[in-house]
C-alpha cells in the first residue's frame, strides 16, 4: 500500500512529504481526520525491525479508521499486537521490543498521553510477571495483562462519564475549555438523563478555535450551549457553577498539562471559589513533576505563528500547553475513581513499586 511506503521511507523529510501530498491530494491518514493537539508526522527513525513495522502499521490503521479513538488507546492496541507476535525469549527482550515500538509510535505524535500510555502499558504488563515456570507461560500472562489494559482503556470514557454524573445537577452552568473528547462524553452522558437540564459555556480556545468544534458537537446532542471568548471567562465566572476540563497529561503531583488557557480558567475559578474538575483517563498519568510553567517537556511548546501579520522583529510566544498546579484542582474524575490531586501520586507509586 502507498501509505506504508510513505510512512516508512526513513530519509524523506517532513516538509517534503507534506509538499508532495498537497500536490497530489492524497488524503493523509493522520492529518485529515480532526485530531487532538500534538499530532504531527515526524521523520520515521532509521532503525525499524519487522515487529515495530507491524506495530506502526496497526497504529496508523486504527487511527485512520476510528476518528474517535484517542491516540493512546490506539497505541495500547498496537503494543498488544507486538506482544502477541513477539518472538523474544526473555523478559528483557520483551521490554526492549515494547520500548522500540513505543519510540516508533511516539514519532507519529508528540501527545504526552501517547508517551505516558506506552510507559504505563509496559510497566503494567511486565510488573507481575516475576517467577514463572516457563517463558511461554510468562508470555501468556503478559498478553493477558495487555488485553486487560486494553479493555480498561477502551471503557475508560464510559466509566468516567458515569462517575462524573452526580457532579452535574439540574440547573447547573458548566464552563468548558475548547474541544475535549473526554469532556464531551461526560456532558453527553449527563444530557441523556431525564432528570436534569444544564447549560454549557464553551471558550473559543484560540488560536486553533477548537471551541467551535465543541459547540457543534454539543449542539448536536441538544445541550444548550453558549460560545464565549477566552478572555471573557473571568467576567462570566460568577454565573458558572463549575469548570470541567480534560487533560493532555496528569502529572505526578496531581496537576495537569492541558491546552493553553486552562491555568487562567483555574485561577479565575479559584478566585470565585468554583470547583475545577478534570476528566482524565488513567493512561494519561505521567511520571513528570513540573516545578513551574517552564519545567514542561519540550513537546508541549510552540504552537506556531499567530494569525494576523506582525512587523518584522516582533517575537511571538505561542505555547500550546500550560501546567495547572494541583492547588487549583478540586477533583480528578478518572477510571480509577474520583481522586484528589494527592491521590494521583499514590496510584503512580503503587504502580511503579
Amino acid at each position: 500500500r502507498t501509505m506504508s511506503v510513505e510512512v516508512y521511507s526513513g530519509t524523506i523529510t517532513h516538509g517534503r512529504q507534506d509538499a508532495e501530498r498537497a500536490a497530489s491530494k492524497i488524503p493523509h491518514p493522520l492529518y485529515d481526520a480532526p485530531r487532538p493537539l500534538g499530532m504531527h508526522v515526524g521523520a520515521a527513525p532509521l532503525l525499524c525491525t519487522a515487529l515495530t513495522l507491524l506495530c506502526a502499521v496497526q497504529f496508523v490503521e486504527l487511527v485512520k479508521n476510528d476518528r474517535h479513538m484517542p491516540v493512546a488507546v490506539a497505541a495500547v492496541r498496537a503494543l498488544t499486537e507486538v506482544l502477541k507476535s513477539s518472538s523474544a525469549t526473555t523478559m528483557m527482550g520483551v521490554q526492549q521490543e515494547l520500548h522500540d515500538a513505543s519510540v516508533q509510535l511516539q514519532s507519529y505524535s508528540s501527545a504526552i498521553s501517547l508517551q505516558s500510555g506506552c510507559k504505563l502499558f509496559t510497566r503494567f504488563v511486565t510488573r507481575t510477571a516475576k517467577e514463572s515456570v516457563s517463558f511461554e507461560e510468562c508470555k501468556k500472562q503478559l498478553i493477558d495483562r495487555g488485553e486487560q489494559f486494553m479493555q480498561r482503556t477502551a471503557t475508560s470514557r464510559q466509566k468516567i462519564s458515569s462517575l462524573a454524573d452526580p457532579f452535574i445537577s439540574d440547573g447547573h452552568t458548566v464552563l468548558v475549555h475548547g474541544f475535549s473528547r473526554g469532556v464531551t462524553s461526560v456532558l453527553v452522558h449527563a444530557a441523556a438523563s431525564e432528570q436534569k437540564r444544564f447549560s454549557v459555556l464553551v471558550t473559543e480556545s484560540r488560536p486553533d478555535n477548537s471551541g467551535y468544534d465543541m459547540v457543534t458537537e454539543l449542539h448536536k446532542h441538544g445541550i444548550p450551549t453558549t460560545l464565549i471568548m477566552d478572555s471573557a471567562a473571568a467576567h462570566l465566572m460568577q454565573k458558572i457553577d463549575f469548570v470541567l476540563v480534560g487533560a493532555e497529561a496528569v502529572v505526578e503531583n496531581g496537576g495537569i498539562i492541558n491546552k493553553i488557557g486552562t491555568f487562567q480558567l483555574a485561577i479565575a475559578a479559584k478566585a470565585f471559589s468554583r470547583p475545577l474538575y478534570v476528566a482524565a483517563e488513567c493512561y494519561k498519568f505521567a511520571r513528570v513533576y513540573p516545578l513551574d510553567q517552564f519545567d514542561l517537556p519540550e513537546a508541549t511548546r510552540n504552537g506556531g505563528p499567530l494569525s494576523l501579520p506582525i512587523p518584522d522583529g516582533v517575537k511571538v510566544v505561542n505555547p500550546k500547553c500550560d501546567y495547572t498546579p494541583p492547588a487549583y484542582i478540586t477533583l480528578l474524575i478518572t477510571d480509577l475513581g474520583v481522586l484528589t490531586p494527592s491521590a494521583v501520586s499514590d496510584e503512580l507509586i503503587k504502580l511503579y513499586n
Partner: protein, 451 residues
C-alpha cells in the same frame, strides 16, 4: 503507685530514662489539696532526698552486673557510668518533656568503669557528644558500622539463643548513645531494621546469623543510603537549569551531592548558602562547594528575606519526613522554606526513604532535641560594642546561676507541608502528601514505631 497524697508528683525530671512517671491517681479524698507553692516545696524536698539516696545506691548497683539480664539493671549501670544529672534548675515548662541538655564533661570522666559498652560504640558515643559526627546520614552510617563491629564480636552466652539475646545486649548500647546525644529518627529506623532482621535469624547457626546480619547492614547502607543519595542527586540535577540561583541552608550531604551532580553535568548556576548560629554549619558547605568550583554566595540568616528575590530554587536537606508531610530539619529550615514559599519559589526537600517516619507532628515543640544553651550566647571574651556591652555578655553568660533566666537552644524545627513543593527520594520525586504511601509500600522492613 501513690500510697499517700504526698506522692502527687507531676513529673520527676531526672527519671526520664524509664519513661514518665504516671501522674498520681486521684488523691485520697480526706487530704486537703495543696497550693502550688507547697507542692513545689515538696517536690524539691523529694528530689534532694532522692539524689542523696542515689548517691548511696551506686556502689550496690555496679556490683550487680547481670549478664543479658533485665534492661533495668543495665539502665542503672549506664546512668551511674555517666555521672549524676546536673542539679535541677528552673525548666522551661514548654520544653520540660524533652531530654534536658547535660554538660558533656561528665561523660568522659567515668566511662570505662563498665565493660558492657563495646569500644566501637563507646568511641561513637563520644564522637556524637562532642560533635565530631554531625548530620543525619553521617550519624546513621557510623551507627550501622559500629553495630556491625558489635555483632561481629558478639558471642552467644550458653543456654541462650542469638535472636533473643543479641537484641537485649544491644539495648544498653543504644541507651548509652542516647545519653551521649539523642538519636535521630533515621537512626531509629535503622535500628528497627536491624532488630527486625535479628528476629529473622531464629533458625541459623551463630556464624550464619552473624554473617546474615552483617550482610543486611551492608545492604541497608548500600541501598537505602548510598544508592539513594546517588538517585536523589541525579533527580535534583535534572531540576536545575542554566541560569538558576539555588539557595540552600546549613550543611546537607545530599544537597551537596545534588549540586555536585548538576555541576558535573555542566549546568551554569550559582549557589546561595544561608548560615545560622550557633552551629555555623554553612561554612563547611560553603568551603566544599567552592572547592568543587561553584560560584557561591554566603549569607547570614537575617538576610534571607533580602537575598530571596535573587533566588530561583531552594534545596533543603532533612533529618526526617513525617507522615503528615512535615519536614524535620536543622533549626532555621522552616523560616527559609516559608520565605521561599511566600515568593512562590519551589522548595525541594532531599530525603532518603529510610528517614520517613510514621509519626505526625504539628509543631517543633512536642519532639525536639535541646542543645547546649551556652553555645547560643556570645562568649565572655568576645568583642563587645555599645549595643552588646561586655557586662551584658558576662551577665547572661552566667545564666546557670540565675533561676529566672532560661536559654533555649533547639536543634531541629518543623517545616509544615504547605511550604514544601516536592520531595526528592530514592523512589522518585513525590509530593509531600505521598509520604504515608511510601511508608506503606516501601518501608515494610522498617516496622513503624514512634520512637
Amino acid at each position: 503507685m501513690a500510697e499517700s497524697g504526698e506522692q502527687k508528683v507531676p513529673k520527676d525530671v531526672e527519671d526520664h530514662k524509664g519513661g514518665k512517671d504516671k501522674k498520681g491517681a486521684k488523691d485520697i479524698p480526706a487530704k486537703k489539696p495543696k497550693t502550688k507553692a507547697e507542692r513545689r516545696a515538696l517536690q524539691e524536698a523529694q528530689r534532694a532526698a532522692k539524689a542523696a539516696a542515689q548517691g548511696q545506691k551506686m556502689p550496690a548497683v555496679s556490683q550487680q552486673r547481670p549478664k543479658g539480664g533485665k534492661s533495668r539493671g543495665h539502665e542503672a549501670v549506664v546512668s551511674s557510668a555517666l555521672g549524676s544529672k546536673a542539679t535541677a534548675r528552673s525548666q522551661l515548662n514548654l520544653f520540660s518533656h524533652l531530654d534536658q541538655y547535660e554538660k558533656g564533661s561528665s561523660l568522659s570522666l567515668s566511662i570505662g568503669v563498665t565493660s558492657d559498652i563495646h569500644p566501637a560504640v563507646h568511641r561513637l558515643g563520644l564522637k556524637y557528644a562532642n560533635g565530631s559526627i554531625v548530620g543525619s546520614n553521617a550519624r546513621a552510617v557510623a551507627l550501622m558500622h559500629a553495630l556491625k563491629h558489635v555483632i561481629q564480636d558478639y558471642k552467644t552466652p550458653p543456654q541462650k539463643s542469638l535472636d533473643r539475646d543479641l537484641e537485649i545486649s544491644i539495648r544498653p548500647l543504644i541507651a548509652f548513645l542516647k545519653r551521649c546525644r539523642p538519636i535521630a529518627i533515621g537512626m531509629g529506623n535503622a535500628i528497627n531494621y536491624l532488630k527486625y532482621h535479628i528476629t529473622r535469624t531464629a533458625e541459623k547457626s551463630e556464624v550464619e546469623a552473624k554473617a546474615y546480619l552483617c550482610e543486611q547492614i551492608d545492604t541497608f547502607l548500600a541501598g537505602r543510603v548510598h544508592a539513594a543519595d546517588k538517585l536523589i542527586a541525579d533527580q535534583g540535577a535534572s531540576k536545575i537549569n542554566d541560569g538558576d540561583v539555588v539557595l540552600t541552608f546549613a550543611c546537607s550531604h545530599v544537597v551537596k551531592m545534588v549540586l555536585n551532580a548538576a555541576y558535573e553535568e555542566g549546568k551554569k548556576f550559582r549557589v546561595v548558602v544561608v548560615d545560622s548560629r550557633p552551629r555555623n554549619e554553612g561554612v563547611r558547605m560553603l568551603a566544599d562547594l567552592v572547592e568543587i568550583g561553584m560560584e557561591c554566595t554566603y549569607v547570614a540568616y537575617h538576610a534571607v528575606s533580602y537575598i530571596m528575590k535573587e533566588v530561583t530554587k531552594v534545596f533543603l536537606g532533612a533529618s526526617a519526613l513525617l507522615a503528615n508531610g512535615a519536614v524535620v530539619s536543622r533549626n532555621g529550615t522552616a523560616g527559609v522554606a516559608m520565605m521561599a514559599s511566600s515568593r512562590n519559589l519551589p522548595v525541594l526537600v532531599c530525603c532518603e526513604t529510610y528517614k520517613f517516619c510514621d509519626r505526625a507532628q504539628l509543631d517543633s515543640i512536642c519532639f525536639n532535641e535541646l542543645g547546649n544553651p551556652a553555645e547560643l550566647l556570645p562568649r565572655a571574651g568576645e568583642r563587645s560594642s555599645a549595643a552588646c556591652p561586655a557586662e551584658s555578655i558576662e551577665y547572661v553568660a552566667g545564666f546557670a546561676d540565675k533561676p529566672t533566666l532560661n536559654v533555649l537552644n533547639l536543634t531541629y524545627d518543623l517545616t509544615p507541608i504547605q511550604f514544601v513543593t516536592a520531595v526528592l527520594t530514592d523512589v522518585g520525586i513525590i509530593p509531600p502528601t505521598s509520604v504515608p504511601v511510601v511508608l506503606r509500600e516501601y518501608n515494610r522492613e522498617l516496622p513503624m514505631s514512634v520512637s
